[in-house]
Amino acid sequence: MSQEFGTYVKAVMERAADEAQRAGAAAIEAEHLLLAMAAEPESTTRRLLDSAGLDHRAIRDALDEEFRRSLSAAGVIVDDRELPPPSRSPRRPSRIGASGKLVLERGVAAVAHKKDLRPAHLLLGVLRLNAGTVPRALALAGVDRNDLTARVRRSLPGEAGQR
């Protein structure tokens, strides 16, 4: 594993734990990782997210919209002004949830050799999620996942050796 990747993942996990705590979640999930990546100063991944219009605010809005739409599919119409805000977890979660694990696994699985891992592989892990809250939110934000995946790949060195 490259030191750069290790340092990046650690920083993103720290930030993601804050995001999870703020959302009242018990574990760090994919959406918290994505929000953390959008707030992390590391330049390549941030630039790639920005190029798809995904700053922290836009991701937050897309996640809110996904929540509203999924509720309305079940016949529940919510008005944000009436809904109680999520209550902050008393403890900062340290556990990584199922969707968070998938992000890490799929990001790491994108390279043949762990030494080739770069920060942007974590974003690749997010883009490789096929179902659930995050891919639905990205679709609502108008993100073309294939196009962004291709751009992430082009930003990575040694593209030929990638799986």
Binding site: G24, E66, F67, L71, A73, A74, G75, S87, P90
Partner: protein
């Protein structure tokens, strides 16, 4: 059920996403309702009975959060 009409959806992704969103909504409503009850002076036992869960479960899930929110809580017995 009240006036909520549950539309049939043929889309599995949508149906599953609804389940996730409803659970999240229920959690948010539970947090708010328990806080409101405890601020109004309910006991842990009454809240537990109303939710249909044990007093231990409701205490474990909510006590730390309510203390952090500055809610004055009754002693546990």
């Amino acid at each position: 059920m009240s006036g909520i009409e549950v539309p049939a959806t043929a889309d599995s992704a949508e149906a599953l996403a609804s389940v996730v969103a409803l659970r999240r909504l229920a959690d948010r409503l539970e947090d708010a309702a328990v806080e409101q009850a405890m601020r109004a002076g309910w006991t842990w036992s009454d809240v537990a009975e109303a939710l249909g869960i044990t007093r231990q479960a409701v205490h474990k899930k909510h006590a730390k959060r309510l203390i952090a929110a500055g809610v004055e809580l009754p002693r546990r017995r």
